[in-house]
């Protein structure tokens, strides 16, 4: 199996459940970015990160994880991500750091630069719409990301 063939250099992964309130931030961000038809950018979305996402990172020049954050800075934080064997490594839902750690475990590749765009969310109930505050945070985050991608 060669998971590295036919690779687009930049990968953006939006994480979250579209039907759980502000957890929709990740997939909604991907939906918005898809509309921009960005060159050299592959967009992925999933409910949560798991070990196999490590293989999506193979051969990339840069990786950005977009996720809702239940705590932390508003409207968003954008920070480099480093591999770490945190507690999420033992769960069905990995952190970006744990995915990077998994990448080092299962591939012989150099780790691409990776960033986490953590957009502050507030409500995560099944069936709830995205909160107005989270929607504003997402707009601010997307504006930053679009400017960065255009630079």
């Amino acid at each position: 199996m060669n998971p590295g063939l036919g690779i687009v250099p930049r990968l953006i992964i939006g994480i979250g459940n579209p039907s759980r309130g502000d957890d929709a931030i990740g997939p909604l961000a991907i939906e918005r970015l898809e509309a921009l038809n960005l060159p050299d950018v592959e967009l992925l979305t999933d409910f949560q990160l798991q070990v196999e996402h490590a293989l999506d990172l193979v051969g990339r020049r840069e990786v950005v994880f977009i996720d809702a954050a239940a705590s932390g800075a508003a409207p968003f934080s954008f920070e480099p991500a480093a591999p770490a064997a945190d507690a999420s490594a033992t769960s069905h839902a990995l952190s970006p750091a744990a995915v990077l750690q998994a990448f080092l475990r299962v591939t012989d590749e150099s780790l691409p630069p990776a960033f986490v765009l953590a957009v502050r969310g507030y409500e995560f109930e099944l069936g709830a719409p995205m909160s107005a505050a989270a929607a504003r945070n997402l707009e601010a985050a997307l504006a930053m990301l679009a400017a960065r991608l255009a630079a």
Partner: protein
């Protein structure tokens, strides 16, 4: 089948230990343990956040949206919900039999899901306990430790998951939020190119699955005394079985056996599951307790999932997996194996079966095209049952004349195993915790028992910063006197 340790005779004044949430299971689980002054276990309960609100989430939507919407109930097994809903809605659109193409593409999708789910559970969530020991050094007892000492196992786990997800992608249209199964059939066939890519890897996949069964078996046999007794309890078994008693995880009729392996019922059309299964409500748990109606709540509870399925069927219709099943059955010496840790061995047999079933389906040209959808006379009610990775999954809908879902009832695999999981942790608590100072390693024994069932406790939400494990010890006055977390130790009192 007793309910010993479910409720303490005199709970006032007992010490309370809480494990919340249970790690390496999906969603949120909490275990509470009551101890007396001599640290004797008096009460043990597994509390699970129920799928509350799910029915409400579904009601009021047009029926054709449901197979896509229900995937959002669970980020771990969305394909199982997708297919169970589609099967229920087949009945709503009056379809008793799918076309060969639709049936085989759905099966392919389902076995892709089983493969990737079982691979994650064994290789990444359970292997640390099994390879290093339940109370081994916590810093090592994780997938990083496994990777360091058993790099092939960690890598194969990732590649098996990726393969399973590729099978899902080509059959459902996407890795997530797929739309492949629709009421009455599927919306796409597999292209020859997609098929050939998967075929290229399937023999390697089968080889790894055979090695995985061998490893699970070796671990069990090497420490049979522990594996046979740890959290073991006798219970009834429930699953679907296919024609002539074949293992079939996609479709079939309901079969139940008692703890000695005798048939309770067989060949039951799941469209009227409520004639055979019902649920009990207990005031201390959000999650209901299903049981076999004719036996009553005390005698009628059962277990579902790999351990039930591998023993409930009469044969597995693929050669390597059936050879492994026969060896497993022989190990039981003519009686069902009820060891909780035998779930791992049985799960790997199913992993192998899934890989072999995928291979057979990839070689079947029906998946490449043909009639995709059929429709018949619409009905107001539909029931879909599937054997999801964790066990029997029931979707039941009622649709009005405007095609709107007005009622939904879901009984998920983990709910079927509710009493079984409680029973298992009570056995473990009684055996390992009685009279001993609690440590992380000892409490992990409780989690090992829960994890064997691979419970999916719901919740596809996962926002950053929410995955701590804390274990809190309360004194008789209710004050917190100690807190343990997975990677550090801190005091709160």
């Amino acid at each position: 089948m007793s309910f010993e340790l479910e409720t303490a005779a005199h709970p006032t004044g007992l010490k309370r230990v809480v494990i919340e949430p249970v790690s390496r299971v999906e969603g949120h689980g909490k275990v509470s343990i009551l101890l007396d002054d001599e640290d004797q276990v008096k009460q043990v309960r597994l509390h699970i956040v129920e799928f509350r609100g799910f029915e409400k989430f579904i009601q009021g939507r047009p029926y054709w949206e449901i197979p896509v919407m229900v995937q959002r109930l669970c980020g771990i097994c969305p394909v199982s919900h997708h297919l169970a809903a589609a099967k229920a809605l087949d009945q709503v659109v009056g379809v008793d039999y799918l076309t060969p193409t639709a049936d085989k593409i759905r099966r392919l999708m389902h076995y892709g899901q089983i493969l990737q789910s079982h691979a994650l559970h064994f290789f990444h969530l359970s292997s640390p306990d099994l390879l290093f020991g339940f109370d081994s050094e916590v810093a090592k007892r994780n997938i990083v430790g496994v990777s360091a000492e058993f790099p092939d196992i960690a890598r194969q786990g990732v590649l098996l998951r990726r393969f399973g997800q590729e099978v899902i992608r080509v059959t459902a249209g996407k890795r997530v939020h797929g739309t492949g199964a629709i009421p009455g059939g599927v919306n796409k066939a597999v292209t020859r190119e997609e098929r050939d890519v998967l075929l290229k890897d399937i023999y390697q996949i089968i080889g790894w699955c055979r090695s995985a069964v061998a490893l699970a078996k070796r671990l069990h046999l090497a420490n049979a005394g522990l594996y046979n007794s740890f959290g073991a309890f006798r219970s009834n078994l429930l699953s679907l079985v296919g024609p002539r008693g074949a293992l079939d995880l996609y479709h079939g009729t309901l079969r139940a056996r008692d703890s000695a392996g005798e048939i309770i019922f067989d060949g039951v059309d799941y469209s009227r599951y409520w004639d055979y299964l019902t649920e009990e409500v207990k005031p201390w748990s959000y999650m209901k307790f299903p049981y076999i109606r004719e036996l009553g709540a005390e005698e009628g509870w059962y277990k579902v999932g790999p351990l039930a399925r591998v023993q409930n069927c009469d044969f597995i219709p693929t050669p390597f997996a059936d050879a492994e099943r026969r060896e497993f059955v022989d190990f039981g010496g003519g009686l069902p194996v009820h060891a909780t840790l035998a779930y791992h061995w049985a799960r790997m047999i199913e992993l192998l079966f899934s890989a072999e079933a995928i291979k057979d389906l990839l070689h079947d040209d029906d998946i490449l095209g043909g009639e995709l959808v059929v429709e018949g006379e619409h009905s107001e009610r539909g029931v879909g049952v599937i054997e999801a990775p964790r066990g029997t999954l029931i979707h039941h809908y009622r649709v009005n004349e405007d095609d709107i879902v007005v009622r939904a009832n879901l009984i998920v695999s983990t709910t079927h195993n509710n009493q079984a999981m409680n029973e298992s942790i009570r056995h473990v608590a009684k055996r390992y915790l009685n009279g001993r100072k609690l440590t992380e390693g000892l409490l992990n024994h409780i989690e090992v028992a829960i994890r064997a069932f691979d419970p999916c406790l719901s919740c596809a939400t996962h926002a950053l910063g929410r995955m701590p494990l804390s274990i809190e010890l309360f004194d008789a006055e209710g004050a917190c006197i100690d807190t343990l977390v997975k990677d550090s130790h801190e005091r709160c009192g």
